[in-house]
């Protein structure tokens, strides 16, 4: 059977892989992708715990956790839209996607 632990560990590992990816690459688009992975990991945890609540209680108990996951998705969509727009704009103006080159504001 799938244990709660398995699902949680999968979530943590996915988060870690995403985090490592976001840290190691300098490509802004790729960083955005890795952040999406991390958000997915968070959703996985939400759903796992919701499931736990549902198994030990009523089916209704799973709902709040899943609703939270829905909100995370909404924010993720908004974030990607704005993030990509910003990156596109930077690329157009400066011809660079690597964030170590985007440092005009560095004092």
């Amino acid at each position: 059977m799938i244990d709660l632990h398995h699902a949680i560990v999968l979530g943590v590992l996915l988060f870690a892989v995403g985090l490592y990816g976001a840290l190691r690459t300098t490509n802004a688009v790729r960083i955005l992708m890795c952040i999406e992975l991390m958000l997915n990991a968070v959703n996985l945890n939400f759903v796992s715990f919701a499931r736990l609540a549902a198994v030990s209680g009523t089916a209704q108990a799973a709902v709040p956790g899943q609703v939270f996951a829905i909100f995370v998705m909404t924010v993720a969509a908004a974030e990607v839209a704005v993030g990509l727009a910003i990156i596109l704009q930077i690329v157009r103006q400066r011809g660079v996607v690597h964030i170590d080159r985007i440092n005009l504001l560095k004092g």
């Binding site: 840290l23 688009v29 997915n40 089916a59 969509a77 990509l84 660079v96 080159r101």
Partner: protein
């Protein structure tokens, strides 16, 4: 017969582990694939895998949402962005130049990048390890959470979403609207200047 029964009972577990492997390997490839387009496709694979896990965890509505939103919208948005601009060429060219050892602006030299990778890895492993340790110590209850066919979750979610969570729900739609307008403003500015 009994073997098949056992197999059927095991199917979700096996499915979970297969999906887990797919998810983790694809996630790894998102940051390691050579070309940015490949990374985007691996990301789609992760999203789909997570949708599969959602099904196994009895969140069928969310699985559908996951496919629609992440695969259908977000991933496509990434691909469009990559293709519409010359992001692909720029990033690929830069990656190659980087690999050839011309060095980056801030990090300076490949040796430094190695140090950086180690640091990033250490922080990641340390963070994940500590989270797992904290979970273990906090006495997380062990419980089977495998799929047990039940009534769909769509109706209960809808009920909650439009009663208890009505205000956050409406706010979320405003957030989306703002994001949409913002993205359009950001991207469309250049064309406006061209017209002038």
């Amino acid at each position: 017969m009994s073997f098949l029964d056992g197999l059927a009972a095991l199917a979700p577990t096996i499915g979970f582990f297969v999906l887990a492997v797919i998810i983790l390997v694809s996630a790894w490839m998102v940051s390691h694939a050579r070309r940015i387009t490949h990374a985007a496709f691996f990301m789609v694979l992760v999203f789909t895998g997570v949708a599969g896990v959602f099904v196994l965890l009895g969140a069928d509505f969310l699985a559908g949402g996951q496919v629609l939103v992440y695969v259908g919208a977000i991933a496509v948005m990434f691909l469009f962005a990559i293709m519409v601009s010359d992001l692909k060429e720029i990033s690929d060219a830069e990656t190659r130049a980087r690999g050839a050892g011309t060095g980056s602006a801030a990090a300076g030299g490949t040796g430094t990048r190695k140090v950086w990778f180690v640091l990033a890895g250490l922080v990641t492993v340390g963070f994940a390890g500590l989270v797992l340790a904290a979970l273990a110590r906090s006495g997380l209850p062990a419980g089977a959470v495998g799929a047990a066919a039940g009534p769909g979750t769509t109706a209960p979610i809808a009920r909650e979403l439009f009663t208890t969570f009505l205000v956050p729900f409406e706010l979320a739609s405003v957030v989306l609207l703002v994001a949409m307008v913002g993205a359009i403003v950001l991207v469309a500015r250049e064309r406006e200047e061209e017209v002038e």
